[in-house]
Symmetry: C2
Subunit: 434 residues, 2 copies
């Protein structure tokens, strides 16, 4: 990235400064990260998207250094200095402010760690995300997205985009946001479930990355009203084990991409990335209850159970991931495929990552008659589901899929206490800004 | 993709069938695309995500062929036949239906062209997208998305995800969808404009692919109520020409990706892909009016003007693309940067692709005082814009960006008369389903 003979017209990124030839002129751009005035000189630290650079300012030029967070351009001479970050600093600088003086930030961004409570972090998100430790978290998210797509692109999947404005709720009637759609009611999609299933009929294998909306009336550390869902659906499967195998590859691809594309962020945060085993440990729901010490008639896994199962997987298999399959059919979405050997259990599964549910998935029903019977058995009215269910008269092969919550994935990678810490601009019961 | 010694356990994709060893058993999966009964035998054409395969069915087995669009698995013997597509067909087949018999589709999907009017196409989108000519259009979209991201990933951009639920409208008060947000009003974002500008302060260069929402009260062939916006914003620019250069590279990357990843779709549709010149022809707004034969005091370009300018670019420069810069400041979004040499004109631009506006972009204002003055000059109240404008007190460098409408891009690639033809499940004034 370093130009072979830097001129003042070429920008040098901070990360490339150590490779600059001492004595040559260089030009950097970024924000005033830190201004430190000593008796004889002033140290200016400039931050750009790649890192930090030190500028030594002497004499009157020190008065030209604008306040912290002001965008600046600095031209100067690359000078070797063992004390400087990367061994090269800028001397004899000419400093140009690229905007008006920045207001004092609500938190001191130049400190190595961001010393702010969650409300401050969120109220001033536009500024607090500038902190290198905070920004690193989103760098993990961006790399994860890349790994997700790369894995699926390599195995015949087609990216799709389904509408977020829908006529009726497919997941359940509760927890939907209502929209005034040209004077008639519409809803924000809780998931692309219907569309990805129907599009299996077109492309066989589809994925979508997009926002989903849940009018979650609870204020918890792991729920958001809007989050980024990584949705996958694939056709012509034998059963849900093929879906789990696909999920394993996707998660492995995401972790590998974090390693490859967000290495500096991983290092900055001091993270130990999880290994994704070739075969993720797999438990039946019944075994999971046993391991968690829960009664055999529990209908679902509580957060405490998931933590216990996560600990079991780590102790027994050295795995940060564990899949639980076979949740009771009655407790899963109505489109989940029952286990033909015993329809009390379903061909559904959850992936638990470090003790927290990260992914839900299943083989789905694919026959029209099965949908009609299931709706009847559950006492659901047909009409709101009609357009969804009718699609299965058109020839949809056996299929299944899953959805990964991006923020949950990054939250577990960073072992964050609250999902809001890894969400750029979170939305919840109380928060609609910034 | 062909397994070296295919067994009945390995699936062969239709596109790989020509490479199968004659006499060997193969197993294909897909939909009954066509069932053609002759006196002595029945031809079954199977369609999967990669193409078509011919199966020769003799005797009683012909009764096993389910109706068109039913998903099936066929095992048989790969047999050379010059008459078959790709020179190889399946003989002595065993046919297994993978779901119940499909209902007769609303249009005959096996015909080479899809003989259906737009309402049929849209009402039955879940089925009509299965037609190879229709599906090809979305394959162009998926490849375009890949090209967009690859180009930006290679030049230091970070992918971001901004909230779609917002407290107030940033683009303009009109044409927003209102949402009931836990009992208080919220809106669907018309664009990620605010967030991408603020995130320049964090990552310098950002992009986002996501839905945007416009409560368009007009029913036109080029507007949708929800579409996929490809948003880009970059900081530390000299002026809007750097933004235009970035746009040029992005569009070139999208076209290159269509060529690379969607070659069969391009061929199926018989498209001539546009060349993207190293320098896209650039006109000032005044020149554009002149070329279009419009009065010099026109405030904007009408669709007819854009068509004329598109024709001019093709005739004069052999280019399918032309950029018009310098639109009158008063007629562009308030955050557009005026031309310092003459603030009547702005540092904004549109990219016209084959006579239709595809992209809008600009250098933006980056100083707080400029925002305050502009709002005053336009008579806009400060309060609704406060949180947006206050962000520019925090040190945002000179920046600019643009947004590409995915459906418009594909619409122009395919020269479709109506944008709905290239949208998976369009939303407009009248349409909220499927």
């Amino acid at each position: 990235m370093v130009s072979p003979s830097p001129t003042t017209h070429t920008r040098t990124l901070c990360a490339d400064l150590p490779a600059a030839t001492p004595g040559q002129p260089v030009r950097i751009q970024g924000w005033v990260h830190r201004r430190r005035e000593l008796a004889q000189l002033t140290f200016l630290v400039v931050r750009d998207r790649t890192g930090l650079a030190q500028v030594v300012v002497r004499g009157e030029a020190a008065d030209q250094v604008p306040p912290e967070e002001t965008p600046v351009e600095v031209t100067g001479t690359a000078t070797a200095n063992e004390q400087a970050p990367g061994g090269v600093e800028l001397t004899e600088p000419r400093i140009t402010a690229l905007s008006d003086d920045a207001e004092t930030p609500p938190v001191e961004l130049w400190r190595p760690t961001l010393n702010a409570g969650l409300p401050t972090l969120l109220d001033h998100a536009a500024v607090t995300w500038r902190h290198p430790m905070q920004r690193a978290k989103w760098e993990l998210a961006a790399a994860s997205l890349k790994g997700f797509r790369e894995t699926l692109d390599a195995t015949g999947f087609t990216e799709v985009a389904s509408p977020k404005l829908v006529e009726s709720a497919t997941e359940s009637g509760a927890n939907v946001f209502a929209v005034d759609y040209f004077g008639r009611p519409a809803y924000l999609a809780q998931s692309p479930q219907f569309y990805k299933q129907v599009l299996v009929g077109v492309f066989e294998r589809v994925y979508e990355v997009g926002p989903v909306f849940r009018a979650e009336p609870h204020d918890t550390v792991r729920h958001l009203a809007e989050y980024v869902s990584l949705d996958v659906e694939l056709g012509f499967i034998e059963d849900h084990h093929e879906v789990i195998a696909c999920l394993r590859d996707v998660v492995a691809g995401m972790v590998a991409a974090v390693r490859e594309y967000a290495g500096p962020a991983v290092e900055r945060l001091g993270l130990v990335l999880p290994d994704v085993l070739e075969e993720i440990p797999l438990l039946h729901f019944r075994e999971a209850l046993e391991i968690a010490g829960a009664p055999a008639d529990e209908p679902d896994l509580a957060p405490a159970h998931e933590r216990a199962i996560g600990e079991w997987a780590k102790a027994e298999h050295g795995s940060d991931f564990v899949v639980v399959e076979g949740y009771p059919t009655a407790n899963r979405a109505f489109y989940s495929h029952p286990d033909p050997a015993d329809p009390h259990w379903s061909r559904s599964f959850d992936l638990i990552f470090r003790g927290v549910e990260l992914v839900s998935g299943a083989q789905r029903l694919h026959r029209y008659d099965d949908y009609v019977r299931t709706l009847e058995e559950r006492g659901y009215p047909y009409a709101p589901y009609a357009s969804y269910v009718e699609a299965f008269r058109r020839g949809i092969p056996p299929h299944g899929g899953f959805a990964i919550g991006l923020e949950r994935f990054v939250g577990r990678l960073t072992e964050s206490a609250n999902i809001r810490e890894v969400t750029l601009f979170p939305r919840d019961l109380h928060r609609l800004t910034p």
